[in-house]
């Protein structure tokens, strides 16, 4: 009788394939609208029209950047940390990681001002403002779906054609990302052991993605024409102010008041 055969595939250097190309392709699937209601507060915020939240975000970013009194920046930091600590650990990590990296870069870039020009507070001021702004942007991005974001922008005057184009692009990106992920997995399985043709295989995946994107676009256009689309995009209806929106507006109105109060106290 023949004993069991133990096969050890030879090692191959495919870390570039796995870590870069495949990662890039599967990242596209992240655009999928995942659950964004990570905490009770996020569920309440989701009931506020995204237009209002977008305007509030721009206002906070602007005031934080303009603030001369750092007390205002610390107040914003306290608010954002309080919101952040209610979210799950993974969400916190996804918001904080890029913010901390950028903050560190900002602090390093401003170090020469502290060392050579005696502006010792410059790195701290700039880095703190960078951190606060990025935490707010990261939280907004994590708790807002692309659809809500587009809806909010359309109420702010973004042309309907642009909104439609971005909407369709996002849907296609998600589809293409999923297909790229599947193709990459198939290539990886076919690359067990030594595969001298893996580079051509990766190029093939990208080519397939391009061809499928072209086919999606053609089929989308045909379907829209069959359903009577003549190139005119209807503007979205304006939103109505709910109780949640009114409370949100009252709270956000306190932010510029606090800004001017603290600037005057300086």
């Amino acid at each position: 009788m023949v004993g069991p055969c133990v096969y050890e595939p030879p090692a191959d250097r495919d870390s570039y394939l796995r870590k870069n190309v495949l990662k890039l392709a599967s990242t596209l699937s992240v655009l999928r609208s995942e659950g964004t209601h990570a905490s009770g507060i996020d569920r309440l915020l989701a009931r506020v029209p995204s237009t209002l939240r977008f305007i509030a975000l721009i206002m906070v970013l602007l005031l934080c950047s303009l603030a001369k009194n750092m007390a205002f920046v610390w107040v914003l930091l306290a608010i954002e940390l309080a919101l952040l600590c209610t979210r799950p650990a993974k969400t916190i990590a996804q918001i904080i990681a890029p913010a901390l990296v950028a903050t560190l870069v900002a602090a390093i870039v401003n170090l020469p001002a502290a060392i050579f020009f005696g502006q010792t507070s410059a790195p701290i001021r700039v880095a703190s403002k960078m951190l606060v702004n990025l935490l707010f942007v990261g939280s907004y991005a994590k708790t807002t779906t692309p659809e809500d974001l587009l809806s909010g922008l359309s109420h702010l005057g973004l042309p309907a054609t642009v909104t439609l184009t971005i909407d369709l692009t996002l849907r296609d990106l998600i589809l293409i990302g999923s297909e790229a992920e599947t193709l990459s997995e198939a290539l990886e399985l076919r690359s067990v052991g030594k595969n001298t043709q893996k580079t051509e295989g990766v190029a093939g995946i990208l080519g397939m993605c391009f061809l499928r994107a072209e086919r999606h676009a053609r089929q989308q256009a045909e379907a829209m024409r069959l359903r009577g689309f003549d190139g005119t995009v209807a503007k979205r209806q304006s939103f109505s102010l709910s109780a949640h929106a009114l409370v949100y507006m009252l709270i956000m109105a306190c932010v510029p008041i606090l800004f001017f109060y603290l600037e005057a106290a300086l």
């Binding site: 009194n69 750092m70 007390a71 610390w74 107040v75 930091l77 306290a78 940390l81 309080a82 952040l84 600590c85 799950p88 650990a89 993974k90 916190i92 990590a93 904080i96 701290i124 703190s128 603290l262 106290a265 300086l266």
Partner: protein
């Protein structure tokens, strides 16, 4: 009991920091082995209790102030190793962001409040409570353990202060760092802690433990004999933390600086007649929110905001650490 910078010599700071390294390593390993991700995340809330207790200053005899620490409380909930890590992180945030406690003296502060206090506290609890204690005996053991744990930590701090003039002085005999010998530092630290701060520590430990044991019994790991039988509702614990945060300005009512935390402008007025050279020329750290204040903001509001920043930072840090912990076992 927060030792500021330049009260201890750099050599003393270094020795105590080096002594803490194996303690931290052991505690990190033990927590990683014993606590799952939910409990590591809860450690953030437990650490928040310690942070808040350290913000509630109480007036002490002699015109100074003191505070509880909550180290024994965390040890009773999640074990002394978890308590060591929790209090260490709370002390780090206080030192870096709020300037409460020195940066160079961080190791010394952790040695007293993060190591000695919780380990002594739970050891004494187990000694007094014994096996399967009655509720009354358990509460007495908790109170005594927390009371004595805090006082043992205060004694350690007093010894660290008191040996400075003996070991580090100039040619004229003037102390370079803390100028008070053991004959002054020990009674100055111990008497207020024995009379007031220790009682506050004991009471707050018992009360908060009882609350958490009823509200979140799943998170009482180290002393299962005390946990309640109801469902775990972490929201109640969060509400208690929020209420304590709002009440933190009560700590501003106690006037006066804690013993051993005077600045160079205050120390000459205490009667020694000179400012030790090591303090005048020593290390200085500019905290972002010194003494829990914000520029131009009313003190009470700034105090509450500082509490929010501290609590949120602790919860976030331990939630991030929980990503490296093991998954909870299915019931």
């Amino acid at each position: 009991m927060h030792i500021p910078d330049n009260y201890l010599s750099p050599a003393t700071d270094a020795v105590l920091t080096v002594a803490m390294v194996p303690v931290w390593v052991h505690c990190a390993r033990k927590v990683h082995e014993t606590l799952d991700e939910n409990k590591v995340a809860f450690l953030g809330m437990a650490s928040a209790f310690s942070f808040l207790l350290m913000m509630f200053n109480v007036p002490l005899p002699g015109g100074t102030t003191g505070h509880a620490v909550g180290g024994t409380l965390i040890a009773l909930l999640l074990g002394p190793e978890a308590a060591c890590l929790a209090v260490s992180v709370a002390l780090l945030i206080q030192a870096v962001i709020f300037g409460d406690g020195g940066i160079l003296a961080f190791g010394a502060n952790c040695f007293n409040m993060a190591f000695i206090l919780p380990f002594a506290g739970i050891f004494l609890y187990r000694l007094i409570a014994g096996e399967d204690p009655s509720p009354a005996r358990r509460r007495i053991a908790m109170f005594v353990g927390a009371y004595l744990g805090l006082n043992i930590a205060a004694l350690c701090a007093a010894i660290e202060f008191g040996i400075q003039p003996v070991l580090f002085h100039d040619a004229a005999g003037n102390a370079l760092y803390c100028p008070y010998p053991l004959s002054v530092s020990i009674p100055a630290m111990l008497i207020p802690h024995l009379l007031v701060a220790g009682v506050v520590e004991g009471l707050s430990t018992v009360l908060i433990y009882e609350f958490v044991a009823k509200a979140a019994p799943d998170y009482v790991v180290a002393t299962p004999e005390g946990k309640g039988s109801g469902q775990t509702k972490l929201s109640l614990v969060a509400i208690l933390i929020a209420v304590l945060a709002v009440l933190t300005p009560l700590g501003l009512l106690a006037e006066g600086t804690a013993w051993g935390e005077w600045g160079t402008d205050e120390i000459a007025e205490t009667g020694i007649g000179y400012v030790p050279a090591g303090m005048e020329q020593g290390f200085s750290w500019e905290a972002a929110m010194p003494d829990y204040t914000f520029g131009g903001m009313p003190e009470s509001f700034a105090y509450v905001l500082s509490a929010v920043v501290g609590i949120a930072s602790l919860v976030i840090i331990f939630k991030l650490l929980s990503l490296t912990a093991k998954r909870p076992q299915a019931a």
